[in-house]
Structures are given as C-alpha cells and as structure tokens.
Symmetry: C2
Subunit: 338 residues, 2 copies
C-alpha cells in the first residue's frame, strides 16, 4: 500500500478568494499547474481525500513523464497558507528540551504527566498566514517570538481512533511558524483557559507534502529532517525534528481523538522543535534567552524578541537538498492600535 | 441603518454534504425555502455578508408578502448545526454566578481580573452537532455535562477592532449546548493549556437569527431572553441571559480581536448562562450540584451527571412565544471505546 501512496506537493495560490486556488508543484518547487476543477482548493481535496488524491497523483505522474510541459514558474510570493483558513489547529508540545527550557522561563514545574500523554492546546485556525505575509503585532512589549514547527493535516479521524487509524489519517505534512506573544502568555495561562491573545495568526511554508513524497525524511510517523531558522539573515538554529521527541504524530492524533472525532483538514502540530545540544541553536527566541540566562548572561544582554522590520526565515533541510516545504520568509510589522 | 438591518432566520439542511444546504425559515419556524445558488451554505453567506444578507432579506420580504407560497414544512430533525463546521469557536465566561459556583467546585479562586476583561478559551470547531444529533461519549465516568449558552456568529473582525466595529461584525445569534466532560477538566486545566478532551463537539439549535430578527429580545449587544433547559422532560433551569453578565458580545469580540483578526464565520460564545437566584435553576449540572453541596446535600444524593439514554432539551423563550432558535433536543449515547 505504501508503494501506491500519493506523492503530492501542494500549494495554494492567492487568487482573491478566501481559499485560493490549489496548485500542484513539481519536485524541484520550480513549476506548478492548477489542480483543476475536481479539487479547486486544498480543503476540497481533503474533503474527499482518498479518491481525489489518487486522481491527482495520476496527473502528477503524467506531468513527471512529460517534464511538466506547459507548467508555470512557481513563486512562493504568490502563495497563501496551504489552508488559508482551517477547521482546526491543535498543537502539541512533544520536544522534551523545549518543555525543560520553557518551564524554567515560566519558573514552574513541567506539567504532571508530560511524558505520559501529549500536552496539547486548541489554537485559532480562522486566519492562517502565507509564507511571505507580515507578522503583524500591535506592540513590541508583547514580546513577539517565533516557533518553528512541523504539523500534519489530517483526513477524518473517528472518535476513539486507534494508533493505526491515526497514522492512516495523516494526509499532508507542513512547516509553520506558531507566532507567540510571550509577554501575554503568563497572564493567560495563569487563568487556566489556555492561549488566546498570546497566539496570533500562525504562518505556513508554501508547500504541503504527502508523507510518501518525503520518502526517507518521514519515519515512524515523524519528519526525519532538520529545520533551519534565520533571523535577519543570521543563522539562529537548526534542530532535528525526529530526535528527542516524546510522542510521534499518530500518538498525538490518537490523544486528540479520545473524546472527539476530528474533521478532514484538521492541522495537528508537534510543538516547537528543540534539541538539547546548544550547537543545534533554537527554534524560538525564548529558548535562546533561557540558555543565556542559565549561562549567566545579564538581563540587559539577552537576545531581544522580534522587533518591527525584523525578518524571520524558516525552512526544512533534507540532505542539503532544496527546502522541501519551501521557505517561510516573513517581516515583522508592528502597527500600534489606533 | 437599524431599520434596514436584515431580519433573517437561517438553518442548514442535512443533504449529504459536509456544509449542508442553507434554508430560509419563516417567522413561525414552520416553513422553509432554499436560500438558492448565491448562498448555497451559511459560510458562503457569511463570506460575503453585507450584499448577500441584503439580497436574502429582499427574498424573505417577498415571501412574507405572499405567505411563503410554495414553501416546504420545516422540521428540525432535518437540520445540521447552522455551521456544521466552522473556522473558529471562541467561548467566554461572562456570567458572574457561573464563575462563583464553578470555582467553588474547583476549590480554586476565580481567576484574577475576571471582572476586568473577558475570560475566554479557544474551542474546537471542526465538528459541530445538529439539534437532534446524539451527544456521543465514551465513558459516563467522564461526567458528561450540558452547558446552555448563547453565541454570535461574526463577519470579518479587523485586528484591534473598536467596540463599534465589534458590534457591527455581529451577523447572527445562535443557541448552543457546550457539552463538557467535567471529570477531565481539572486534569486539563492544571496543565495550563486549556480544554481539549474535556470539550467534545458542541451542539446547536437549528435556527440562527440576525439581531434585528430578535427585535426587543436583542438589547445592548446581548440576548434579552430566558433559556429553558429540561433533562428527561423535567424542568431543570430557566436563567435570563441578559442579567448578571459582566460583559456583552461587542466587549467579548473586542477582547478577542486585540492581537488577532477574526475571520467571517467565527462563533463567539458568552459562556454558561447563570443567575444567582436558585429559582432560576441551572444551565449546567455542575452548578446544580454545587448548590446542593452548599445546602449540605451528601455526595451520594447529588444530582447525577448525564447517563446513556438521557435526553437534554434547550430552547430560548421570548414572551412565551415559540422558541426563536428552535430547540436542541438530544439523546446521550455512551459507546465505550472498542
């Protein structure tokens, strides 16, 4: 069955409509063709995934055979998020080292049972940003942080799904920036109701790929690759996404489906990627700051949070090939509320 | 402008598609006609609300003038949730008495700032249940509770919306049952990440109405009506939704939009309706139990949570007229995980 699994690379073109236009992208991420009338948008494809993905896979095989004759040049600047609006965004926190550093920052113990079952939160999914959309914030004092993450997009997941059903429900893999306003997190979490204002819109790399299209870079329900982060053109981190994770995606999805079914198009994240080795750098600024604090750096010399005009670049690296998901390359725009 | 505000009563018919078919419902909730090709679903109507709502309002005025000739009989059993899947469900907790009783149950103080800014959580919106769909749970030990609430459905809300922009963004008003698994709440909230497994799918009364269609039953950005709850045919509560609330809907929406824009079709709730007077009864079982505990009732005699086969009925009452939103009338179905 794995041999027949569709190898798809999909993106969404900004065309003035809320859900954009679904694009089929070639392996080099240089060419694209419209997915066509049967799957005008990514949500439409996910709504009827098994037959439509097989149909689209056929189209892609024919294009591969003809060198994508007649295809158009692919430009990430044309892209919205793969799902510009989604019915669900649920994010876990499965990287042990991230929890270790973040709870030091919060001066709280790591939540009980952190290694027994996935720690998850329900995120906002009504507005998802494209790879080159600005990160808009209203105040630098909110402490604007990036969080580089891998997520999957599911088909329908039945209530009480088994690990195998959860695995089979994984349709696509995506790369994202789960922007956080650190200054607002302690106040919100102290109330117990989770994040809201502290999690503004999430941003996505342009290309969503099927696990089969990742080949050996998808292993045991996890992305087997590194994610490289740069801020203002400077290397900031390059943690590996499949080492030091406590749970994999099928385990996260099974947890989410324990009392609820999940609808097609649910985006499920694994949380900020993090490696214990300082040489891997960080996938969020807060981690870097905690590392500095633990090393004795005074407050005044800590790495600053994002400021107006800063640029964030995030891409996944597989064997130094071209970035598989394409790059997130965003500017921070701080526009005080009028 | 208020004089021209559309007076619409809308429902969604189950037609085998994920988003159903948008229905225009008459004032008596006895007749309906299809909304037609320009607004095939409620989300399509919300995506282009101002012009389409005006267009649909014209259709309704013509139908009113002709006695809805040719309309079909309305049956809530045909209905899905008005939005069977939504891009956002954010719920506040604005009833002072609910917080007072619930935090006694939790044996914790009411969160700091509870009366200064709305306490909100991000809910799951990928699966919304219709008025007669079963409440499916996997275990009675999860302590299945109902929560009767009013919510609004918004158009697009800009980041940093003013109170007036928030008010203008309110498109529709709905009645819902925010089902909670009380047994799972303390564990989830202790982790600080909010609700996930403890909030399974939310259920909706069939008819969504514009504020203008509510007439005097919509006042100062709040529903001015009572909500009646019955369990297994017995009266359980009838609290008033516009007394004892700390914040109104424009205030809740302004809070939600402080750091994020909201997309058209966002559902925003005010939380479990609650009145301090015991004669109003309760809109959730936990409140009734806390009242019993405060009155000295022993644990063994407390009102039980919902059990397999129980029926929950929720409807809004305006001057003892017909229920404006139609009724939620659900059965609890406990199906242990295989």
């Amino acid at each position: 069955m794995t041999a027949l699994a569709p190898q798809l690379r999909l993106a969404t073109r900004r065309n003035g409509r809320r859900d954009g236009e679904l694009m089929l992208v070639d392996r080099s991420a240089r060419k694209w063709v419209p997915a066509g009338a049967d799957a005008p948008t990514l949500q439409a494809l996910l709504d009827d995934w098994a037959p439509l993905a097989a149909q689209v896979d056929e189209v892609v095989r024919r294009l591969d055979a003809t060198g994508w004759a007649g295809a158009l040049p692919f430009d990430a600047g044309q892209c919205m998020a793969p799902l510009p609006r989604a019915y669900q965004w649920a994010d876990a926190s499965v990287y042990r080292n991230h929890a270790r550093l973040i709870y030091q920052w919060r001066r709280e113990p790591i939540p009980a049972g952190y290694e027994e079952e996935p720690l998850v939160y329900q995120g906002g999914s009504d507005v998802m940003l494209g790879p080159q959309d600005d990160i808009v914030a209203v105040d630098e004092a909110h402490q604007i942080d990036l969080e580089a993450e891998i997520a999957v997009i599911t088909g329908d997941v039945p209530l009480g799904a088994s690990l195998e059903e959860a695995r089979q429900a994984i349709a696509l893999v995506v790369l994202l920036n789960d922007v956080s306003l650190r200054g607002l997190i302690p106040g919100e979490l102290a109330k117990g109701f989770g994040f809201y204002q502290s999690k503004p819109a999430t941003s996505f790399a342009p290309i969503a790929v099927t696990p089969a299209a990742l080949g050996p870079a998808w292993r045991d329900g996890m992305p087997d690759l590194r994610v490289r982060i740069a801020i203002n053109g400077e290397w900031f981190g390059e943690p590996h996404a499949n080492t030091e994770a406590i749970f994999n995606f099928p385990q996260i999805i099974r947890h989410l489906a324990r009392t609820r079914s999940l609808a097609a198009g649910s985006i499920v994240g694994a949380g900020t990627i993090s490696n214990a080795s300082p040489s891997a750098g960080s996938a969020c600024i807060t981690e870097a700051r905690v590392r500095q604090i633990l090393a004795g750096t005074p407050e005044s010399a800590l790495r600053p949070y994002l400021r107006d005009g800063d640029r964030v670049r995030i891409e996944a690296i597989v064997d130094e090939q071209d970035a598989v998901f394409g790059a997130i390359d965003q500017r921070v725009s701080v526009r005080p509320r009028h």
